[in-house]
């Protein structure tokens, strides 16, 4: 649910990073934060446990530049991936404009990815959103590790609709901006439709 402000000539969009525990959502935001110029970013807020697991959300506001005279701002959020934080995940999804699903490519996380994707569908559904219709991209993260499933395998299972999919290594930043750009593109194109 974007916020178009004709008074200040701004447009705000909310993007949520979703995925199983430890898949690298927070790492994605940290990389974006570290690589973004001071004047284009706000503070990054992380509500996390002592062991740096996301407890409620991470929040990173970005001001990317202007489109047709409107400042475009993206508010990036991550959800807590651990299964038992489901109530919090639902809250973060409120008013979302676009979703990035960060999959953990490691073989042993195969089932966790499926479970998290199902959970995303259910929670969107509860908010009256349809995963088939909203701007949605998938990142296959942790490609640097040795024990990963092939992208074909992951894609077949997690991406039947063939939304934009990208390989990533959030720790080194590979694919991170490409992912953000892919979802931003879908979100902005969506505005065009509504407008």
């Amino acid at each position: 649910m974007s916020f178009i402000n004709y008074a200040s000539r701004e447009i705000n969009c909310k993007i949520v990073y979703y995925g199983p525990g430890l898949c690298g959502k927070t790492t994605n935001l940290q990389f974006i934060y570290n690589k973004t110029a001071e004047e284009s970013k706000g503070k990054m807020i992380s509500l996390a446990t002592e062991t740096e697991r996301t407890l409620f959300f991470d929040f990173l506001p970005l001001a990317l530049g202007e489109i047709r005279g409107f400042k475009t701002r993206f508010h990036l959020y991550t959800v807590p991936g651990q299964v038992f934080y489901d109530a919090s995940r639902k809250l973060i999804l409120k008013g979302v404009d676009g979703v990035v699903f960060v999959a953990d490519s490691q073989e042993e996380r195969f089932d966790a990815n499926i479970e998290s994707l199902e959970n995303l569908k259910d929670n969107l559904d509860e908010q009256g959103f349809d995963l088939e219709k909203i701007p949605f991209v998938i990142q296959y993260n942790k490609r640097d590790l040795p024990n990963v499933s092939s992208v074909e395998e992951l894609s077949e299972l997690l991406n039947p609709r063939k939304v934009p999919e990208l390989e990533g290594c959030a720790m080194s930043g590979e694919g991170v901006f490409e992912t953000l750009k892919a979802v931003a593109k879908l979100v902005l194109n969506d505005l065009k439709k509504d407008g």
């Binding site: 649910m1 409620f56 047709r68 409107f70 902005l188 505005l191």
Partner: protein, 165 residues
């Protein structure tokens, strides 16, 4: 009231009305800072001593706070806690919900009091709710008549690529 999925749109005229109401509330309640936030965490307007305040972060955390207490309310069979109050050593925060959709945050210190803030917020809330109703109606009408073409109707891929350079 706005549905959960419709975009919030703000026009100049309503923005000015909102600012006037917030400024008056600031004066009449003797408070330090007042801001309005969309339930999704986007800042709508702010007034008062905002210069050294990270209003973007405040907006996001306020919305998270309201969302979390709203979740708590549901669990115990309440609809929503429509007022939250946090008391600090120097500054206090009074948070209330307007028209089910917008969050009003008032920060005040010992120059004011909870009683005064409550009283003034109540009055201002009703007036703010009217502005937001007008805003919703206007947005709907604009959508139907679409006399004003959306500035985003002609976004190109190049425009989007440029954002990331």
């Amino acid at each position: 009231m706005l549905g959960p999925q419709s975009s919030l749109v703000m026009y100049d005229e309503e923005y000015q009305r909102i600012l006037l109401l917030l400024e008056r509330l600031l004066r009449e309640s003797n408070s330090k800072v007042i801001f309005l936030v969309d339930k999704n965490g986007q800042l709508i307007a702010a007034t008062g001593e905002t210069a050294n305040l990270d209003t973007t972060s405040l907006a996001s955390l306020t919305a998270g706070n309201i969302a979390a207490t709203g979740g708590l309310a549901k669990l115990i069979g309440e609809k929503e806690f429509s007022i939250l109050f946090h008391e600090g050593e120097k500054d206090n925060i009074h948070i209330s919900i307007i028209g089910g959709r917008v969050i009003l945050v008032v920060i005040f210190d010992q120059r004011s009091s909870l009683g005064l803030v409550r009283l003034r917020v109540k009055k201002a809330s009703n007036e703010l709710a009217i502005v937001f109703e007008d805003l919703v109606n206007k947005t709907e009408q604009e959508a139907i008549s679409s006399s004003v073409p959306s500035p985003f109707a002609e976004i190109t891929d190049d425009d989007i690529d440029n954002l990331f350079n």
